[in-house]
């Protein structure tokens, strides 16, 4: 009898351990599913983030392993410029010196975060080659989907309250600066700015 109990006890422990391993594996797989499914939610038409709206808070991780929060109210009153790039995009490379200069000159109110997606090792090697290891650099398809990045290089400006101020395709220093200008003027884009100006003009004429 006691032998029976011992054997059953051993078998039960082994089975429980296997069960826990299976549960853990399932939980991990659910995590992977969330990563894959979440962007599909953002892709739905009409659901996209608009300028002037609160950007969703995303907890991300930089390639060097630090935690990085995008969105939400910032305690240090700094805005965030998200710059989406790819190692294979030549225009992106031409903007890097511009960003480097901005990172210094606008440091008092602006954090610049580089974002991309793809293979971690590839991006790390590229950063090393460009001597840009000091940059906060995140790989997140989710972030790109949230900001609705269509073409590269793309930039999005999130202010200190976590509101998406402006975003768009940026091909030059002037384009990036126009995002800052949009934030200062409180308009979402140069197109909207022109529309407002025209409206004002019409009112004046009337």
């Amino acid at each position: 009898m006691i032998n029976t109990l011992i054997v059953s006890n051993i078998i039960l422990w082994v089975l429980v351990l296997v069960l826990v391993a299976v549960v853990f594996a399932l939980v991990r797989q659910i995590g992977v599913l969330y990563e894959r499914v979440a962007p599909a939610g953002a892709l739905m038409s009409g659901k996209g983030l608009k300028t002037g709206e609160l950007a969703p808070v995303l907890d991300l991780q930089t390639v060097d392993g630090r935690a990085l929060k995008i969105g939400g109210e910032r305690s240090d009153n700094k805005s965030t410029l998200l710059f989406f790039l790819s190692p294979t995009c030549p225009v992106c490379k031409t903007l890097i010196p511009v960003l480097e200069a901005m990172r210094k000159s606008e440091a008092d109110w602006l954090d610049i975060v580089l974002a991309s997606d793809g293979d971690m090792d590839e991006h790390r090697a590229w950063l090393k080659k460009q001597q840009m290891e000091s940059w906060p650099y995140v790989l997140s398809p989710q972030l790109g989907m949230t900001m609705q990045v269509a073409k590269l290089p793309f930039a999005a400006l999130i202010d200190e309250k976590g509101i998406l101020c402006a975003r768009g395709l940026v091909n030059s220093r002037e384009h990036i600066e126009s995002l800052f200008e949009a934030r200062a003027q409180g308009v979402a884009s140069i197109q909207e700015f022109l529309k407002v100006q025209q409206h004002k003009h019409e009112q004046d004429v009337a």
Partner: protein, 178 residues
Amino acid sequence: MDPVIKVIICICMCMLFGVAAIHKLKAPAVFRAAMKDYQLIPSILLSIVSIVLIFLELLSVILVLVPSAQATGLLIMAALLLIYAGGISINLYRGRRDIDCGCNGPATTQALSWWLVARNLVFLGLVLLAVGPSIERALNWLDLFTIFFGVLVASGLYLGFNQLLAQAPRLAALRSAT
């Protein structure tokens, strides 16, 4: 209480606090940043408090492994668990859910939630259970077997629980999107 339960609790707690201390030693800046986010300690004291907390974690692990000092080590662990649960509760009351709990080192961020408080309180209960009186009896080979598998299963469940908690914000985001 049976010594097997006590040994399992002690080993699990040593693993928990040992891993926590190693994470903090590996990335002290991350730990300081997490503590700063809690907004409970004046920034001048941050580095001192962080050193004290890491020291207490390591000390408690060592003490629990020494049979004669076991109760002291367990009580230090209980105090640390209470301090962490208190810090999390205060920030939950303030509505600051979005800060990183600083529980898992730099690899994963985990938002604050009452689940974390509940987890700490369960651990606290287990630690206090182990401090309590236990029966003296010699451990046979089946007891060692139970201890070995008990520790493995408890660790696996803990990892699974943590993973679920870390994923909770994503599930919430998914729910609100549809």
